[in-house]
């Protein structure tokens, strides 16, 4: 069953861990862009924080010679995503046009099976109805639906921005150029650690970066084919 426009794009993200300063700007940008609710101290302590993107702090070395490394983690947009086949209602599936792992909020019935089967634990669940207290409600993004309680959600690679980029390019009657599409996290990263682009476009920056010898993919051995590539080990290798 070939679909029109299949494999048109292959969106990937390259995150340079040697550049990441752990400033959390991407986390804030992600919340703002995708209408991700802020759950409050108590629920965060309960393990219900709803970050689509969060930064893990990893300590390296023994005291007193310790050093922190930061690792932004989000949905790895697997090409063979384990979350997809287990959903009984196709709420999550492989979008064959953009080659991302899509989540249709309104189809979700909340079995949370996908979250259990995600080796990266990248998915978040709406344990309660979201609240956007004043003035947060003023800045809700109209391009992204607000999810109710009982629905699973996760990083979408800002698919609304991908769509807008394509529409803009079509309106100007041109091909999509590298840099036309920037997810909120990449746009807001002051250190320029997050790069986003189309692997099918040989001119794109990410097409160059994927060949870096510093590149790793998280839990690659599971065969999930993640679309997020981490660059790490700059001290030991030349990037």
């Amino acid at each position: 069953m070939e679909q029109i426009g299949q494999d048109e794009h292959r969106w990937i993200m390259v995150i340079d861990l040697d550049r990441c300063t752990g400033c959390q700007a991407c986390v804030v940008a992600c919340h703002a862009e995708n209408n991700v609710p802020i759950v409050g101290d108590e629920e965060v302590r309960n393990g219900r924080a709803m970050h689509w993107l969060h930064i893990e702090r990893i300590w390296i070395g023994e005291y007193p010679n310790v050093r922190a490394k930061f690792m932004p983690l989000m949905c790895q947009q697997c090409q063979k995503a384990p979350c997809e086949p287990v959903c009984p209602v196709f709420a999550t599936y492989h979008n064959a046009v953009e080659n991302v792992n899509a989540q249709i909020y309104n189809r979700c019935i909340g079995t949370r099976y996908c979250a259990n089967n995600c080796p990266y634990i990248a998915r978040t669940f709406n344990w309660f109805d979201p609240e956007f207290p004043e003035p947060l409600n003023e800045q809700l993004n109209p391009d992204v639906s607000v999810r109710r309680r009982g629905i699973m959600e996760k990083c979408t690679f800002c698919i609304q921005r991908i769509r807008r980029g394509r529409e803009n390019a079509a309106a100007e009657d041109r091909e999509l150029r590298d840099g036309d599409v920037q997810p909120a996290c990449a746009q807001s990263c002051p250190a320029g650690a997050i790069k986003f682009g189309d692997l099918n476009n040989p001119e794109s920056e990410v097409s160059r970066l994927v060949h870096s010898p510093r590149g790793i993919r998280l839990l690659e051995e599971l065969g999930t084919e993640p679309s997020v590539i981490y660059l790490s080990g700059g001290e030991a290798h030349v990037g």
């Binding site: 629920e43 309960n46 393990g47 219900r48 924080a49 893990e56 990893i58 384990p82 086949p85 287990v86 959903c87 009984p88 209602v89 196709f90 189809r107 979700c108 019935i109 909340g110 079995t111 949370r112 099976y113 979250a115 259990n116 089967n117 080796p119 990266y120 634990i121 978040t124 669940f125 709406n126 344990w127 309660f128 109805d129 109710r148 309680r149 009982g150 629905i151 699973m152 998280l218 839990l219 599971l222």
Partner: protein, 473 residues
């Protein structure tokens, strides 16, 4: 004691008339025994019913209603343990539902004659356990009010469900099993309903008249019924195996360490029969006392069921150990962490309790006939087994989720009051349904007992009065 007294040992003679099938009673008397047990209710019975109704109201209507209105956050589940007590309860009740089919269908196929008086009591457990089990996927859904999106029917969304998903298999398997086991309960019930119809008046008379469908007992009716029961017995056995296998595949098909195991299917089936048959014994002991069914339910039955439990305890131990050893010897680092968590972590007391209830106690006691036929002993052992099996499911569900391949994503889970109330409410639902049904449906398959008594005779061979069975089919 003198030496003489020990050296001469007379063979222990057992009176065969202690067995139900060698102790026939007139039909009318037997019918009345069954109907009296059904129509007599003490104030204690109504007290129990009242307490159960309150517990159901609190647990199912109150706690579940509150959860639907507030959101799943009122339960203790949290990242990364997205499944908790609800799924544990689901697996547990599906396990209990294996009681009836095993006792009724497998023992029927193998012509195990001791099954006759209690097949119905066990089949009734199957249907009600499935009703309770079927509530859990709904309780557990984030959007319960959208559960019907899983049902395959042509709809305005133009979207069919995803048949790749083990949950979809699960739903259809449970549906098949619920329909199958309820019809399998109903078919052999028809002649007994007709009997009750002929003995009853008033609302009972009307109810039994409708439910007996106009049964008269002609040759053709019996012939169709017996053929159908045989077809059902053979058909329901693979369905029973498939149901718990698919429940196991809900876990086995994932990438989660501690779940992704090919032994899970048979391991769960064995565990389900183990806990199901134990629950049958628990229920039969209670029924025997509460409804005075001593004539029908005798030491021989608990003796036989005790042997089955002994075999399944050994089988469960074998599967458990095969799974454990594989993980211990060559599993992933997370798998080892899980085993450490079970043996030395916060769930360790539960884990050892499980081994005591499921392995140590049954294997050390049930080889002894005196224990197998003791009421108190069997009640404690079988209740213990079901506690043990519940713990097993709890550790499998929540343990494996709390540890995954990325240590910074580890977490913990503790059930909340809401989850506990719903669990108590569902247990009460089961007991309530069973208690009500026990006063409406004839719990003893009278015609099957009589058929058995017809084919069993005592034959004198030399000095022995030997029990003999004739094949009447």
């Amino acid at each position: 004691m003198s030496v003489k007294a020990i050296s001469v040992v007379w063979p222990e003679t057992e009176d065969p008339r202690e067995k139900l099938l060698f102790d026939p009673r007139p039909t009318r008397e037997m019918n009345n025994m069954v109907l009296d047990a059904m129509t007599t209710t003490s104030w204690r019975y109504w007290l129990v019913i009242a307490v159960l109704v309150v517990l159901v109201l609190i647990g199912i209507f109150g706690a579940w209603g509150y959860q639907i209105l507030q959101g799943m956050g009122v339960a203790g589940i949290r990242r990364p343990v997205y499944w908790g007590v609800y799924i544990t309860n689901f697996v547990f009740w599906i396990g209990i539902s294996h009681s009836g089919t095993f006792v009724s269908a497998i023992l029927r196929v193998f012509k195990a004659e001791f099954r006759r008086p209690f097949t119905r009591a066990a089949e009734l457990m199957t249907s009600f356990a499935l009703v309770v089990a079927g509530m859990y996927p709904l309780i557990h859904l984030g959007r319960t009010w959208r559960f019907y999106w899983m049902v395959p029917y042509p709809n305005q969304r133009q979207l069919w469900p995803n048949f790749h998903s083990p949950l979809e298999w699960d739903m259809l398997a449970i549906f098949t099993y619920l329909i199958g086991s309820t019809l399998y309960l109903y078919l052999p019930l028809i002649p007994d309903l007709a009997m009750a119809r002929d003995y009853s008046t008033g609302w009972r008379g009307n109810l039994y008249r409708i439910m007996a469908l106009g049964w008269r007992g002609t040759e053709a009716e019996w012939h169709h019924l017996k053929t159908a029961i045989t077809i059902f017995a053979f058909a329901i056995i693979p369905v029973m195996f498939s149901v718990h296998t698919i429940v196991a595949w809900d876990f086995g098909m994932t990438m989660t360490v501690g779940w992704h195991s090919s032994i899970f299917g048979p391991y769960f089936v064995v565990g389900a029969i183990f806990s199901g048959v134990s629950a049958v014994v628990t229920v039969l002991l209670i029924l025997r006392k509460a409804m005075r069914l001593d004539y029908f339910l005798r030491a021989e039955h608990f003796d036989a069921l005790g042997k089955i439990i002994l075999v399944f305890s050994a089988a469960w131990t074998y599967f458990f150990f095969a799974d454990y050893l594989t993980e211990w010897y060559g599993g992933e680092a997370v798998g080892k962490e899980l085993l450490t968590l079970q043996a030395r972590g916060p769930v360790a007391p539960l884990w050892y309790l499980m081994l005591i209830f499921n392995v140590a106690i049954p294997l050390l006691t049930l080889w002894n006939k005196r224990i197998r036929t003791s009421v108190r002993g069997m009640l404690l052992i079988t209740l213990g087994i079901n506690v043990g099996m519940y713990i097993e499911r709890y550790i499998i569900v929540t343990g494996a989720l709390s540890r995954n391949r990325l240590p910074f994503n580890w977490g913990a889970y503790n059930p909340t009051l809401i989850e506990i109330l719903i669990s108590i409410g569902s247990l009460s639902t089961f007991v309530l349904l069973y208690a009500l049904a026990s006063r409406v449906l004839p719990l003893i398959p009278v015609w099957e007992v009589q058929e058995g008594q017809l084919s069993h005779r005592l034959r004198r061979i030399g000095r022995q009065l030997a029990p003999s069975v004739s094949e009447l089919d």
